[in-house]
Structure formats: structure tokens, C-alpha cells
Amino acid sequence: MKPGMPDILRRFAGRSAAKTRGLPSRPSFPPVLLAILLVLSGTATNVDSARAKEPQNTLPVERSEEPLFSLDSPIGPIEYQLGRGLRFGRTGLNIGGFATLEIEKERNENSRFSVEGINFLVLLQPIQPLRIFMELEVGKLYSVDMHTGAAESDATLNFQRLFGEIGLNDAFNVRLGKFQTPVGRWNLAPAEPFVWTATDPHILESFDEHTTGGVVHGSVFPSTGSFNYWLFGQVAAFDPEDDEEPVDHTAGGRLEYSADLGTWSVGSSLLASQLDQQWGYLAGLDGQFNYGPFELTSEFVYLWGDLEDPFRWDIYIQGVMEVLPNLYLVGRYEHTGGLAREPSLNLGDVGLTWRPVPFLDFKGTYRFSDERSDDVFEGFKASFTVLF
């Protein structure tokens, strides 16, 4: 039966009852139709009787959006939804993640296929204001040279993120543990399924992807927009293998304004980092603008201090256009310059992204570069990601 049909039947029942009580009703129904209505109203009465037998003083059981399967249990429904994970009833536990396959053909190198990794996202929210979140990555599972057939596997296991958070209200939340460094825009959700290109912008090398320490963050909502802030600091690198040379200590902050549910937003970030008794500083600006099928994103960072003697800067601008339903054309230009980065670096990325359904992502990106070195990737990279 079509969803909502019982509602219709219920209304039929109400109309019929009004008729039998002699109350005014629409006079235009033909007798045959009235007979049908009476039969249906009998059915509807049965539906209502069945509803009346349901316990009216207990909460109806909530469900996931579109579960692939659902199993009733004493802890509530255990449901799995593609792209949203496995939910364990009312325990607040949800386990999901994403997996990524990659093919890359670097300039003057053989093509490689790799099972890049499986990332598990585990959320535990036993009571509403408290949540514990973990991203566990099983990385570098398998890689093969597609010309020579030489394969290698060097599986690693690391906690990309692990934190506990408690919210007192919308404006004040405290998070402790290891989390994405809240600097810039890309780094807030930098993983493969959530970005538009298979290649990453060079700007991400300006700071550590993760911070281990504490962050206070929140939102206030003036008029139709929202101000979001983050203040954070690092006391120790929880997983030093994750970043090549993680800094010892950091302190930073980010302020962001989003207008009209994110139609456009601007942000600024500040970061001070200490490594081996030397300090480096970062100031950044970023913005995003959405209009119909278009999205424009840009980030700029300026770095100075002992770690970037005397200074360096990096900027990228990226445009995305939905050219066909779920098919996106992406272009990005990036420039890195400054006295600490001689000669300057120019990168251009063009590609296509196809998201046939929300939990699948295919990307192909070609990167141009004006620098030939091992530090800079130039060539083609494709990825396939599934959210599970």
C-alpha cells in the first residue's frame, strides 16, 4: 500500500461518519461512489481500531533514512544504510566508513593501482550532549605496478581521529583528543569522498592535518546566517606516524561566517606552531560561493617565522560546475610563492567527478605543474570511493 494511504482511508471514515450523523457533506458524490466510500470507511474503521490497540503512551520507534535492512531487537532497530553505516538501535552506536581505490599515472612513471585504505567511522552517542568519535584507518593495503606487476602491501593501522566531545549549548562545545586541525576549508573534511578532485591542493602542506589536544567551538545565529568559531591547542602528537614531521605544540583559532544556509561563507584562521624550539605562524583567509550548479572555493595562507624563514604564501581557487545530473566538471589553479619558496610553484588541476548515488564517488583528475621534482605530483590520478 502506498505510504499515506491509511491517512486517506481515515479521512474517508470521517466523511462517512458525518454523513450517517446527518451532518453537511459534499452532495456531489454519485450513489455508486458513496457505496464504495462506505465499504472503504469500514476498512478504515478497522485500521483505526488497529491503531487504537497500539500503545498510545509509548514513543514510536524511529528509523534511519533508507535502511538496506532492519532488524528489530531489544535495543531498538539494528539498521544498515549505505553511506550512513550500521546503527545499533537506541544505544547511540553507529559504525560505518569509506573505502578508496586509486589508479595513478605520474609523469615518467609506471601506472599504479592501489587499495588506498579502509577508514572506519565509529560514533558513540550514549546521551545527547556527549559523543565519542573515532576514525580508524587501515591504510596502504595493496599497491601494484600495472606494467611490471610488482605488488607491495604495507598495511598500517592508525587513529586518524579519536575524541570525546560535550556540548553545553550551541555556542560552547568542548572536544578533547585527536581531531582535524580546524584551519582553512579543505582540511575540515579532506578525505576522498568529500572533495572534488583526486589530487589534493599543495596548501595542505602548510600545517598538520591533525591536532591532538583540545578545542572549544560553537555557533551563534544572527539573522539568517551563522558565526562559527574554533579555539584549539595541541599538547602532544598522538600519532606521529600520521604526519611526516608533526609539530610539538600549536595554538590557533578559526572564525567563519555562513550566510543563507551556506550559500556563501567566509572564514579566517590563525595558527602558531612550535617545532624543535622554533616557531612558525600562519594566517589564512578562505571563502566559498554557491549559485545553482556552480561552486567556487578559494583559500589563501601566509606563513612566516623561524619555520618559514622568512615567509611563504599559497593560494588556490577552485570551480565546480554540474554539467549533467551528478556529473561535475572541476578546475583548480594554485600558486605557491614567497622567499621561502623559490622558485614559485604553479599547479593546475582539471577533472571530472561522477556521483551517481550519494554513497559512490568516481573521480579523474589531471594535474599540470611547472616544477619537476619528487615533491610535486604531475600526471593523472583516478579514484573510486564507496561510503558504507
Partner: protein, 150 residues
């Protein structure tokens, strides 16, 4: 199927379609527990359903309830609250999933939403206006999608 039966079926379908407006043509009521005193704008409702706003003014956590994804009521609500931004909701929830935030859970009927909200003090939901009664309080009415509809 005989001609008479076809005529009866057609008459019934015609009567249903004329006599009772589809959700897209009926006002939607955004409802909270009857004991709540909050007033909400459409922007605040949008933020709640995006889980950007997560607390009531007295610091209680908001429990937002959606209708099931395929329901007409859900489609009408999404269209009226998010407008053109609805096209970006899938990408938005994917990013939130990465951050450990899941979309609101769902219930399968207006009756279930009304009952849930009447029993859960911190809940918010939405139903077609004809399902409204004294067990819940409407904080916002969303007009029909097409103003020329009856």
C-alpha cells in the same frame, strides 16, 4: 475488468484527488511538545534539521524527527524549508557523516510524528496541518508550495 468497475475506480480516484489536497497543496505545521514555548523562524527550522542548531534555548538537546525519505510530506518540507539548497543536501550530509554527525531519524506517518512529539519534550517534527491537535503545539506553518493551489 468491466466498464462499470473501471468507471467506479476512476470516480473514486477523481473524488480523492479533488476532495483531499496532497501534502504539496496543504500547509505543513512544524510542531513541538505542547509544553514548549519556543517560536521558530523558517531559518531556525532549517538549521535544526541540518543539525547546526542542536539545543533549545534552555540548553536541552533538540530531537529532530523527519518523515521517511520517500514520503510526499518530506518532499514538501524539504522544498519549502531548503528551497534551491536542497540539491546540496546529500553532499552536506556526507560531509557531516565524516564529522560524526548523522541526519535526523525518521517516522513513517504524520500520526507517529505527532505522537512522538507529544510524548518527547525536546522533539520537533512536522505534519500536514489537518493532523494538528492539542497534543502538540505548532511553532510555524509552511505555506503550500504553489500559492495558487486551493
Amino acid at each position: 475488468m468491466s466498464g462499470v468497475r473501471l468507471l467506479i475506480l476512476a470516480s473514486w480516484l477523481l473524488a480523492v484527488s479533488f476532495a483531499w489536497p496532497a501534502p504539496a497543496q496543504e500547509r505543513l505545521a512544524v510542531i513541538v511538545n505542547a509544553e514548549r514555548e519556543d517560536q521558530l523562524s523558517i531559518e531556525e527550522v532549517a538549521r535544526i534539521y541540518l543539525k547546526q542548531r542542536r539545543f533549545w534555548s534552555e540548553r536541552e538537546s533538540i530531537v529532530a524527527i523527519n518523515r521517511d525519505a520517500d514520503s510526499d510530506v518530506r518532499k514538501a518540507f524539504t522544498e519549502r524549508v531548503f528551497g534551491d539548497e536542497a540539491r546540496r543536501l546529500n553532499a552536506y550530509w556526507n560531509r557531516q557523516y565524516f564529522k560524526g554527525v548523522l541526519p535526523p531519524l525518521t517516522l513513517a506517518s504524520d500520526e507517529a510524528v505527532r505522537r512522538y512529539v507529544s510524548l518527547e519534550p525536546n522533539a520537533i517534527g512536522y505534519i500536514t496541518e489537518s493532523w494538528l491537535d492539542a497534543s502538540v503545539r505548532a511553532v510555524l506553518f509552511l505555506p503550500p508550495a504553489n500559492p495558487s493551489s486551493p
